[in-house]
Symmetry: C2
Subunit: 269 residues, 2 copies
């Protein structure tokens, strides 16, 4: 396939470029879709031949600036907490657009960009999502946890009720596209789609914190299929995370948790 100009052509080229190191690894370990060698190879061939390389230039900070910037960014993100008590105060739509754009700058396996961010503002739709999530949660609590546990939770006011699904001005449901389609209609494996979309969500969380918005990272129990149908997403998309987004309530509380110190998470050699 020869490269021509025009946006569509760009997109083809792009979505088929292999970020080499991504494409190879043992998919047994971690990712959710087996590598089909034929496809893999075919895919790569089309690609490398099509991709032009261009010079890369970037901003350069002084060492002092780098140290200061990295320290300031750490302090900003270290203030992030998962907040389950969100107010219904509206949030500017433009901010939501910007944080999703930011998440979209994430790297992805073979540059497939295998993510769909469904942003739900409609109150009726939010309530339907809440009903689906709470119904599954209630079943889960009662079936799997037993009475004693349920009572403990009641005592702690922690149960299957997820009020934030109604109150948060936005719910962001993040879907991973587990495969795509080649121009010839053949299935195109999305290597590392789950790792890629999770990395994009990490960047999204950083963008939310930078904007002064809060959320709780959640993976609703067994709701993926129902929510996918409710939100009319195609069969190649699977729900990965649900993020309610807004401002904390005035009386919001968080668990008294600490984070591991650097020496517990970093090994220097």
């Amino acid at each position: 396939m020869k490269k021509t100009n025009g946006e569509k052509e760009k997109r083809d080229t792009k979505t088929k470029h292999p970020s080499r190191p991504w494409v190879d690894e043992d998919l047994k370990d971690g990712t959710d879709h087996p590598l089909e060698e034929e496809e893999g190879e075919e895919e790569w061939q089309g690609l490398e031949e099509n991709v032009a390389h261009v010079p890369f230039t970037c901003e350069r900070y002084s060492e002092a600036e780098m140290i200061k910037r990295s320290q300031t960014f750490y302090e900003l993100l270290n203030k992030r907490r998962s907040v389950r008590f969100l107010s219904d105060e509206p949030v500017p739509r433009e901010v939501i657009d910007n944080v999703i754009r930011t998440a979209g700058t994430s790297p992805s396996g073979a540059h497939t960009e295998p993510w769909t961010f469904v942003v739900v503002q409609d109150p009726n739709l939010k309530h339907k999502i809440r009903e689906i999530v709470e119904e599954e949660e209630e079943i889960n609590y009662k079936k799997r946890m037993g009475d004693r546990w349920v009572n403990d939770l009641k005592r702690l006011r922690t149960n299957w009720i997820k009020e934030y699904l109604d109150t948060a001005p936005y719910l962001i449901l993040i879907f991973k596209q587990v495969y795509g389609r080649l121009p010839n209609g053949k299935k195109k494996t999305h290597y590392y789609n789950e790792i890629s979309v999770s990395i994009a969500c990490g960047i999204l969380l950083a963008a939310l914190q930078n904007a002064g918005l809060y959320t709780v990272t959640s993976t609703p129990l067994n709701c993926g299929p129902q929510l996918r149908v409710l939100l009319q997403r195609p069969a190649n998309e699977k729900l990965l995370l649900l993020l309610p987004v807004g401002y904390p309530k005035r009386d919001a509380t968080v668990p008294a948790l600490t984070r591991k110190p650097l020496e517990d998470i970093m090994v220097f050699m």
Copy 2:
């Protein structure tokens, strides 16, 4: 288990707190370790009973500030590219410490913080890593790709040679802790360890970009076990990603790729 004071006790409480919404989802879909119900329940019970909640307060920006901050952050991260041509110029260690600290602020399933960041600066160790990665890559290229493909790659100067593994001042190897140990020595499932560590890597990529450092997100082919042994990581840790970190070379190039526009990644309802 009653809560007492002291850092160690804090840690126990903390590592056992369930971020509720994380703990439930269908592990069939995506994560790499089956939920063992007994353990799950036991774990949760210990936790909720121990966790105190505290009031949460946070900074509040004006809407104009939020829009500006979110726009500026998008522009910063949109300049990020995966760079395979890294110079050997040294990078301040303090910046590396700060970006790892920042990654450590990520949320994680049941707040297990199941990540280990191995930072390799030692030239001999970097070279050993390069030898392991390139050996596997060469096998992969020759076995799986066939002569025509290998020749295409030669023509494109893209092959199994990964010079950046020697030249980058630091290699960050990110391991996911697939399980931990309870005080009683029992295995403690780390729910969503791969999603959690990938989210932390997204935050790490944002921190690197903010500091003016570059990398290429890589998952070395079949090298996990060998690299784990080389770096003396325990059996519960699996290599997820390898990030060479440094400054781009003066003559660095990147593939001419574009990113999907907002309307291709966001659905608003």
